[in-house]
Amino acid sequence: MIRLDNLTKVFDTPKGAVTAADHISMEVPAGEICILLGPSGCGKTTTLKMINRIVRPTSGKVFIDGEDTSALDTQELRRNLGYVIQQIGLFPNMTIEENITAVPRLLGWDKDRYKRRARELMDMIALDADAFLKRYPSELSGGQQQRIGVARALAADPPVMLMDEPFGAIDPINRAVIQDEFLKMQQELKKTIMFVSHDIDEAIKMGNRIAIFREGKLVQYSPPDDLLAAPRNAFVESFLGEDRALKRLNLVKVRELASDEIGVVRPEDTLATALERIEGFGYQNAILMINDKRQPVGIIHRSVARTTSGYCRDHFQSVPTVVSLDDDLRKVASLMFAYDMTWMPCVDDEGRVCGQITQRAITHHLGSRYRATQSSGPGDDTGTPTPSAAEE
């Protein structure tokens, strides 16, 4: 758990005092990722760096797991906080092994223990220990280097990680891969993480909570879905972008909106039955045909069912696509557009048809939060169950 209590930084510059972070108070519950988001110069990085005293706070306090860190020795504090920076900062004069065991060695672990730990870490970040441990950072690609950077931060198993735009310097394709890997690791490790980003999509993907900063102030602190559905003010709204409703598609899984009412036919049904069900379930174009194992095997088009007689098994076409319960709505929406469909069959892990998701259900879900916030008025945060200490 990380708690910031009125954390403030005032820089003295030739042009006068500049308040980089202004009475920031917030709390990140244990095991969650909190993204600090905002335009450059908004104080997000300063806030992060005050936690490990790379930047000394002018006033205010930082609590880690309830303990006031101002009593701790700076070096000791830092050794207990994993730290990942955008420039990675691997030491070029040290091997990969020396780099990732830097903190354990500072902590005085014995050789066997830190060597074993190095191998564990390499397994965790999915790099071959034998191939990489004895190499030097300059021999690795940017993506590999950043994985090592993360491993170095995790080496002494700190409860808290601070990450300053950790994936910012990696190309978009590798970045997505590393983000996924990191989220997978986090599911097991359950670190409490503060993560600076200027990329909204990254924030929505990675964050359990997002803190929006502007000019040194914390403007809004909410879970991503609440943030997108109920931006507190015009700044947050414009920062999130006009397509913010679409961004929410990333956050919702098919499982949440799928209805188990789906009309299907079996191969042995007649086309007349098919037409009846198409009408009955209100499908515009076609109905799904499944086999005995409830696997989707084809679709019967309305036009075929109306004009032809016979059995479904002789007149079906291939299934354009299905979605699984763990897919997000963004994928579903994209497939709907691509195949010109207003509904999609959903399948479970074994590939059995278990329901459908409709365009109507998606738009209704996205719209319901807007309607709720509009009726209670913008700026009202009742829909946000998080401690929000923003001062306006």
């Binding site: 070029p92 091997t95 830097a102 500072l106 300059s138």
Partner: protein, 221 residues
């Protein structure tokens, strides 16, 4: 032919003088490294002090060597070493400060700020950062400074023959006083060759001292 004949005839003496020369420069630059590197590191903490120190070191280098020897004669006479080994070593020690201090200062100052932040961020103390990160990364540039000092001072030490310090300069000074071009030229060529050979040997040493993993940086330094 005459020159080669002279050199061969006096090979023993030539070798003795060369060893003497190397010993003088080696001791002096060795001492200069022991003082210059810590000074160079220390002044990275204070920009104003750094400017002052580098300024003084630059001024020392502008003093002509023959004048410096002259100044030292009365001063060092007090402890009975007005001429000879001691003033020669002191002069070279002083001349070596600029390249060594300046390169150390630049090298430490130019360590990538991201590396410094990473080192601080994982909880290294100032000493640990210096020993484990900053100095290893600075070694190629510090060594380049030492090489500059050595090559520069192999030349300066030739003049120290005038205050009786010995070394290859004795061939040159005798060649002049005895109007003997053979001695003069053999001495001059020997000094030049020595400078070149020592420079290459130190370059090899520099490469060995450079941490693996940053060899690319070393070849450009």
């Amino acid at each position: 032919m005459e020159l080669i004949q002279y050199a061969l005839d006096n090979l023993g003496l030539l070798l003795d003088r060369t060893i003497e020369h190397i010993a003088l420069v080696g001791v002096a630059v060795g001492l200069a490294t022991l003082t210059g590197v810590p000074i160079g590191i220390a002044i990275t903490k204070n920009e104003r002090l750094a400017k002052a120190v580098l300024y003084v070191a630059s001024i020392i280098v502008t003093i002509p060597s023959i004048a410096l020897f002259g100044i030292m004669i009365p001063i060092l006479s007090i402890i009975g070493h007005g001429i000879g080994y001691v003033p020669a070593v002191i002069a070279v020690l002083l001349y070596s400060q600029l390249p060594i201090i300046r390169n150390t200062y630049t090298a430490i100052n130019n360590v990538d700020p991201a590396l410094r932040e990473a080192a601080r961020g994982i909880g290294m103390s100032q000493n640990q950062r210096l020993r484990q990160v900053e100095i290893p990364l600075a070694i190629p540039i510090i060594m380049a400074g030492v090489r500059t000092a050595v090559v520069l001072n192999i030349g300066v030490m030739a003049i120290a023959a005038y205050i009786g310090a010995g070394g290859l300069g004795t061939f040159i000074s005798r060649g002049i006083s005895q109007s003997d071009p053979r001695q003069l030229i053999v001495g001059a060529v020997a000094v030049s060759l020595l400078a070149i050979i020592v420079d290459y040997s130190l370059l090899a040493l520099q490469k060995r001292l450079t941490p693996r993993g940053m060899e690319r940086a070393a070849t450009t330094a």
